[in-house]
């Protein structure tokens, strides 16, 4: 048996979490370095996975399969396809930045209690989330995926509720209430979604007699598994509901602004750039892969909801007064694009959606983390409290601008490629939807540039006059992310190379062919 590379990639951060949690209270800094060390180690393993993965090879590679709970028909089955590789890489790439950006976020305010170890807890939880997310990207057993999908809520919940933003130093009591409200809302929404999915997971087992993606696909191919149309639709709805909550899709999105607003910037990155991607990823792999007919059946509704998300999220982002909530609504708009790309059922749309997941992760991380640095300096999340920052902290303003431009998909930066692909893919199948979605780009320009204008330009506000520029640690977060954005913006090939074959598989699952350009047909 070959070396279980995927297990190792997921196990390393889990071990790191335990090790970090075990560091004594007084050795706080050691815990941070330990966490960073483990996250970098995971990045190395993820790079190995990326290199070992052959884009032209089997659909699922580096597979592992072990008996786990035979009574439930559950096996510990891992395997990675191109989409999984891309998202695994994204996760492993972002976590070190999350850790470095959150270096001081969890320092205890008072050091008198020797048993309360928030710092160790914070970094352990981040690594725990990383482990679970990575495993969920490579799980090819529905049950195993479900377990991780649900279990990752718990560390996330503690990260949101336990380590809030320190922006409201004055009104601590109130902030704590808001924070725990946001954490509970996050958990209940996602848990409710997950439990609906549990019913569908059980239903799937009753119908298919197996949890293994490959076995179900095989049974479908050779005709031994026939799903009644209504059964397939119900199961699809059960799965889709959970992923739509997670992603989040309008009208199930309302937990995201709360959670992102109250969480610290690194945790907000964890939510929107990493954990939410599990939702969109799962739509591709499970909704389309397991229930192709029902997916096609639901397409009109899903596309409509996605369009509403795009426009509604962007409009609300324009109207926000709180920087982090603005980014949250912008993310809702972007998730609309991703879901649109997935359900357009064209290979361009789905490649675009997959690239979009990666690029949105990186660009949002850049924007949010720099915004977090800004908010920590001033102690406020309100846009109105800033003004003229670019004169006192030019580097901060510059990196913030690049993050913002990436968010609005400026050509030359990575998100442009993916947004373009999604729009083209959508347009070729659903022209009207493509046109409506384009309005999202216009609105994106509006909310990003207005945000920049109000906070960074204009006369220097008294409250920001003594604001220091980015420090070395913060530069170490911002600059590499920007470098990746530019690199993938001009040279997306390494990513498209692994993603495209995987998308072809998904397309063959739903048995769709790309529509031919009509000009050719007319001749």
């Amino acid at each position: 048996m070959s070396f279980p590379l995927l297990t190792a990639t997921a196990a390393l951060p889990a071990i790191g979490a335990i090790a970090t949690a075990a560091v004594p209270a007084a050795r706080r800094t050691a815990a941070k370095w330990l966490a960073l060390f483990f996250s970098l180690g995971t990045l190395v393993l993820a790079a190995v996975v990326f290199l070992r993965f052959e884009p032209g090879g089997d659909r699922y590679q580096l597979t592992e399969s072990r008996a786990w709970i035979a009574d439930f028909g559950v096996r510990y089955e891992l395997g990675v396809d191109g989409i999984g590789v891309a998202l695994l890489g994204l996760t492993a790439l972002l976590i070190p930045f999350v850790i470095v950006a959150g270096w001081h976020d969890a320092d205890p305010l008072e050091t008198k209690s020797s048993r309360w170890r928030p710092t160790q807890g914070f970094f352990a939880l981040v690594l725990m989330v990383e482990a679970m997310v990575i495993l969920s990207f490579v799980a090819t057993d529905v049950f195993l995926f479900y377990i991780l999908f649900e279990a990752m809520l718990i560390p996330m919940y503690f990260l949101i509720g336990g380590f809030g933003d320190r922006a409201h130093a004055g009104t601590d009591e109130n902030a704590a209430t808001q924070r725990s409200y946001a954490a509970v809302k996050f958990l209940l929404y996602n848990l409710a979604g997950g439990l609906i999915m549990l019913a569908a997971v059980i239903g799937l087992y009753v119908v298919a007699g197996s949890f293994s993606l490959s076995e179900i696909a095989e049974a479908r191919a050779n005709g031994s598994l026939e799903m009644a149309t209504s059964t397939e639709r119900w199961l699809f709805l059960g799965f889709f509901f959970a992923f739509a909550v997670k992603a989040p899709l309008w009208p199930l999105h309302t937990w995201l602004p709360n959670a992102m607003g109250e969480a610290t910037a690194p945790v907000a990155v964890l939510i929107t750039a990493i954990v939410d991607k599990v939702g969109t990823f799962a739509m591709l792999r499970f909704c389309l892969g397991l229930f192709p007919e029902a997916s096609k059946w639901a397409t009109p509704v899903v596309i409509t909801l996605a369009l509403i998300s795009i426009v509604y999220g962007a409009l609300l982002a324009v109207g926000q007064r709180d920087i982090k909530r603005l980014i949250a609504y912008a993310s809702i708009s972007h998730f609309g694009f991703i879901i649109l790309g997935i359900f357009a059922m064209t290979s361009q749309g789905q490649s675009g959606a997959t690239l979009y997941m990666v690029n949105h992760g990186i660009s949002t991380a850049a924007l949010l983390l720099v915004a977090g640095f800004l908010i920590t300096r001033r102690g406020s999340r309100l846009i109105a409290d800033y003004g003229g920052v670019q004169k006192v902290a030019p580097v901060l303003a510059g990196t913030f601008l690049i993050g913002g431009l990436a968010t609005l998909s400026l050509p030359g930066l990575a998100p442009f490629v993916s947004e373009f692909l999604v729009l083209v893919g959508t347009f070729s199948a659903y022209p009207v939807a493509g046109v409506i979605a384009t309005s999202g780009i216009v609105l994106a320009a509006l909310y990003v540039l207005v945000l920049y204008q109000r906070t960074m330009t204009g006369p220097v506000r008294e409250s920001v006059r003594s604001m220091p520029d980015l420090r070395a640690r913060e530069l170490a977060v911002a600059l590499p992310l920007i470098a990746v954005l530019i690199f993938l913006g001009v040279f997306p090939k390494p990513l498209t190379e692994v993603v495209n074959p995987a998308v072809e598989h998904t397309m063959s699952d739903v048995q769709k062919k790309d529509p031919q350009p009509e000009v050719e047909a007319a001749k």
């Binding site: 009574d71 279990a151 009753v206």
Partner: protein
Amino acid sequence: MSATAVHSLWTTASGVTSAAPGNSFTAPKIEYTQLMPVLIIVVAAVLGILVEAFVPRRARYHTQLFLTVVAVAGSFAAIVGLAAGGYGTTDAGIVAMGAIAIDGPTLFLQGTILLVAMVALFTFAERRLDPGSNGNRVDSFAAQAGSVPGGEGEKAAVRAGFTTTEVFPLLLFSVAGLLVFPAANDLLTLFIALEVFSLPLYLLCAVARRKRLMSQEAAVKYFLLGAFSSAFLLFGIALLYGYAGSLSYADIANVVDGSVLEIDPALADTMGNDALLLIGGAMILTGLLFKVGAVPFHMWTPDVYQGAPTPVTGFMAAATKVAAFGALLRLLYVALPGLAWDLRPVMWAVAIVTMLGGAIVAITQTDIKRLLAYSSIAHAGFILAGVIAASPEGISSVLFYLLAYSFVTVGAFAVVTLVRDAGGEATHLSKWAGLGRRSPLVAAVFAVFLLAFAGIPLTSGFSGKFAVFKAAAEGGAGALVVVGVLSSAVAAFFYIRVIVLMFFSEPKADGPTVAVPSPLTMTTIAVGVAVTLVLGLAPQYFLDLASQAGVFVR
């Protein structure tokens, strides 16, 4: 009805039809080997009473503790021996003249009950938590159960440092009843086992050291409602006997499905009367559902759980549920399988209102013990979903759920005993605010139990819930599964609320302290956590055990 149409209770069972009593006496055949687990417990309980009578007061605690631990361990060893000897599978059979069935479910449930009794016993014996009275170490039980609360007698007893060591034999008697209950193979044995385990529990509920009036009130309520439900059960037994002419499960089953070989005139008269059967069956179910704590027979649960001494609550919540579901399963699968379709709508309704009722009412609770009581009601509903599945998977999923649930319950109540203020245990939820800051470990352990109750993956609660729901879905009860997951979502809300309170709220200045327990309670909690995690991460072995044990003997 003619004179011949009166059933003869004993003679039909033994097959000797014409002999007058005393004329020829057949010695009963008793299989002592298979009954060993029960016998060990009963003998130890009797010895415990003798200890109370003859051993000096200061040596009683240790003697009783030793005796009880040895008895429970010995009995469990006997169970393991029987299971290893194949009495659960190939050699399963009816023993003690048809009164008791020793088969897979029996051994599994008896084993579970004994393990639960063992860990609960440690919380019974815990003597380090209470600040003590005049330097004496005391447990959770009243200094002298007979003294008037707040009176002179009580003060004198506290000054003298008395402790109620009678709780140990009472516990053992209760365990004996619980062991027989799921094994009962005729209706009279069922009733007697019910009384044998209930009566000591009524007493145990009444002997709390702190808040004695509440404890006594709880005991009276439990006793009155319990007596009421016993009456239902007994009346149902009478009706069913009137219908089938027999108390034995197998005979009843034969009459119900019409496969009885010899129909004597008396039976021919009654067996067409479905009203007797349906009303009798429903009344017996009522009695069992009362013990299970299913809505609408749940009214006693919150008051009793809250008022009883917490170690007793933990034991009762876990062990009675195990035994009562075992008895319910056997009744439905062995005695009344012919009624499966008639009872289905009723059981569906009960399961649905139990799941939803327990979960919804729990939201408004402000006392941790009442909260856990309502949560136990919701869990009874989940288990009922598995009972309804009416398949071997249904049986084994219920067995597994009971194993998982009982350890979480005992562990959770053991944690409740640790959080104390000047008035004893601080059970009001507001007092738990900020516990995670003050004692991260205790709060984390309790959080694990709450997550298991909520059925979060990687805990035993999830494995159990999944097993039960899967069996229900395969048994054609998909709608129950949907109700189940919806009420799980509701239930998650109040478990999470407690976690929020512990971790995200600022500690209060006059908040409770967490007492440092002796190794006894620590063992209980550690075992609880270990079982919760093992059954969550690697449940395969125990699922195998449960599915091997999932066949009833007839």
